[in-house]
């Protein structure tokens, strides 16, 4: 089966610092990512803050042009930005954003914002649109009386629900959700997660789900990719990746999940400097903080490849005794 969306060798770099003349120094936020999203699945992307997850998400949607590499939609290269084809494709692909306040227009009522995509694409008007807006609001758990509110009059979680219902207005095929539930309380989070799963099951929606909340990722995602410093270091079915993390970074990540009723115990505390994309360590980017790294790790960048039926980018894979070691 061809994947619905495929990324090949995606690289993005940004200028860091500034210089008035000449070329400012640059760093790679995303550094060679290959990814395939299969039709109807939810692919989770987790990883350290600043590891390039949002940047990758924006490139997958064609909101940002990659510095190198390409994104293919149903086997075809993405049409050039701002062409008709691109616009038609964009309507099927929606982004749900990390900071809901920044994604909303503070001068428009939320009903107007949810109706906006319908009107822009000339799909519905008047009473029909109002009905659809009411339906969308109900679907994400917003009350009808909130339709005439402005974003700043809502709580953080309520705002995020507005963003989600607006993204759903166009009945998209593909969603990139960038931290869609991190501003939501556990109960609404459960509703939204169930809602996204319903959309996946009933409407065959494909999703890339970027989140820090590993418990949620584990619950909602079929597969998960773990990023570290702009690269995917581990990929696999979410149950396996969380149940038996192989890459040392994934192990640290899984062990730091805070658990209700218990303090910060039993976790692998990462030592050393937090990762810095402007000064990528040579070899495996994780080796300075890795407990099992040796000299070889500093010399060679490990490729994401199959080890014992799973994809990891770690030279020490063969040496690790399976499971329980963490």
């Amino acid at each position: 089966m061809t994947p619905i969306l495929e990324a090949r060798g995606l690289v993005q770099q940004y200028a860091t610092g500034r210089s008035l003349f000449g070329k400012p120094p640059s760093m790679r936020a995303v550094d060679g990512v290959d990814l395939a999203v299969r039709e109807g699945e939810i692919l989770g992307i987790v990883g350290e803050s600043g590891s390039g997850k949002s940047t990758l998400g924006r490139m997958l949607l064609g909101l940002e042009t990659p510095f190198a590499g390409e994104v293919r939609w149903r086997g075809q290269p993405m049409p050039a930005p701002r062409t008709d084809m691109w616009r038609r494709l964009r309507a099927q692909m929606q982004l749900i954003f990390q900071d809901p306040l920044a994604a909303l227009d503070r001068r428009m009522t939320i009903a107007a914002q949810i109706a906006e995509p319908l009107e822009i694409h000339g799909l519905m008007k008047g009473a029909e649109a109002a009905e659809r807006v009411a339906e969308l609001m109900a679907r994400v758990g917003l009350r009808p009386d909130q339709a005439d509110r402005y974003p700043h009059e809502l709580s953080g979680g309520q705002r995020q629900r507005v963003v989600i219902s607006r993204a759903l207005a166009m009945r998209p095929k593909f969603l990139v959700c960038d931290e869609p539930v991190s501003a939501l309380d556990v109960s609404i989070q459960a509703q939204v997660v169930n809602l996204l799963r319903d959309l996946q099951e009933q409407e065959g929606l494909t999703m890339v789900f970027i989140s820090h909340d590993l418990k949620v990722v584990h619950n909602i995602c079929n597969r998960v990719a773990v990023m570290y410093l702009g690269r995917v270091v581990e990929e696999g079915p979410s149950g396996e990746v969380f149940g038996d993390p192989r890459h040392p970074y994934t192990r640290a990540l899984v062990s730091s999940i805070p658990k209700a009723g218990r303090g910060l115990t039993d976790r692998i505390i990462l030592q050393g400097e937090p990762p810095n994309p402007a000064m990528r360590p040579p070899g495996c980017a994780f080796h300075p903080r890795c407990a099992i790294a040796d000299a070889a790790c500093a010399g060679e960048i490990p490729e994401l490849s199959g080890h014992r039926g799973r994809l990891t980018a770690c030279l020490k894979q063969r040496a690790i005794i399976p499971a329980t070691a963490a």
Partner: protein, 329 residues
């Protein structure tokens, strides 16, 4: 006497009351969690305490810090409290930083204000703070603007800014939502260390009950503008009494292998404009009786420990659920 004490705090917007008499004490050096569904008034409580709400908000009640009343206090007096005694980390990190000012400058502003640091000294300290909250190569990034940082980095810059004033009380409103698990753990660690070293008290507002239980001594559960239960952290998680608290705990996804559907609390938070006459949670509550729909339970001290506002509290947590929870933790 408590370091900060809130009594009967009420807030309304355009005639709609959203806080219905909050009472909360924070001791010196204590860490208190504030949890509850979205829109129940967690942020508004502290925005009201620091007079940061828009002018249309009507506020009554009392918030005292070391006996000094803050509600209705003149501007300059509140300015002396803000940032220096009570600092606040806000919920929406990327829009809470000034987009046209370098982040270093925004941190240095706090340093100048509260610690009298200027020039190179302030800059060095700002870099130290940024390093402390885990911004890589802070020396080269102090002079960048907020849009050049990721969401989680903005959040950490907010934290650095709040810590810059060495406050006695830190209000952390969802401080780790945009952070991944390892950095979150690191920040929670950092906050705990700072508390140990400086005796800073902390109010930790979060949806993440796991994070709350990791850093707090005590937690209060809010629903529809009221505190409905509060207790020591271990007791609250081991034996939640209010059906709402039980619902919150049940909604947390579990890290077991099956992709079970999550269990949200049924129904939605009531519109503050049309609150039910009795217990605000009654329409969603499985324990509710007729009595609950007509009478409002008061927040009462419980015989063993904690405070509770419920006529029909959940008994000891059912063993079956308890074992499931044990697995989860």
């Amino acid at each position: 006497m408590a370091f900060v004490s809130i009594r009967d705090l009420k807030v309304s917007f355009d005639g709609v009351q959203v806080l219905h008499g909050i009472g909360l004490d924070i001791g010196r050096g204590e860490a208190v969690g504030l949890v509850g569904e979205s829109g129940c008034g967690k942020s508004v409580t502290w925005l009201a305490a620091l007079s940061l709400l828009p002018a249309k908000a009507r506020i009554s009640g009392s918030v005292r810090i070391d006996g000094q009343e803050l509600i209705g206090a003149p501007g300059p007096e509140i300015e002396k409290v803000r940032g220096a005694r009570i600092a606040m980390i806000f919920q929406d990190p990327s829009s809470s930083l000034n987009p046209v000012q370098r982040v270093g400058k925004q941190i240095m502003e706090s340093l100048r204000l509260h610690r009298g640091l200027k020039g190179a000294m302030a800059r060095t300290e700002a870099i130290r703070l940024m390093n402390m909250v885990g911004i890589p190569s802070a020396e080269t990034r102090v002079d960048l603007y907020p849009h050049e940082f990721s969401g989680g980095q903005c959040q950490r810059i907010m934290i650095a800014m709040a810590l810059a004033g060495q406050p006695d009380l830190l209000i952390a409103d969802e401080p780790t939502t945009a952070l991944d698990a390892t950095i979150q753990a690191q920040i929670l660690d950092l906050l705990s260390t700072i508390r140990r070293e400086t005796g800073m008290a902390m109010v930790f507002i979060s949806h993440d009950l796991g994070a709350v239980s990791a850093v707090c001594d005590r937690a209060a559960v809010m629903y529809a503008g009221k505190i409905v239960e509060s207790n020591e952290i271990t007791a609250l998680f081991a034996a939640p009494r209010h059906p709402y608290t039980v619902g919150l705990l049940d909604a947390i996804p579990e890290l077991d292998v099956t992709r079970a559907r999550l269990q949200p609390i049924k129904g939605t938070v009531p519109d503050p404009k049309y609150l039910p006459t009795g217990c605000a949670f009654a329409p969603r509550c499985t324990h509710a009786t007729d009595f609950c729909t007509t009478d409002q339970p008061e927040l009462k001290r419980q015989p063993d420990s904690g405070l509770l506002a419920c006529f029909h509290p959940a008994g000891r947590y059912k063993t079956e659920t308890l074992t499931r929870r044990e697995e989860l933790v």
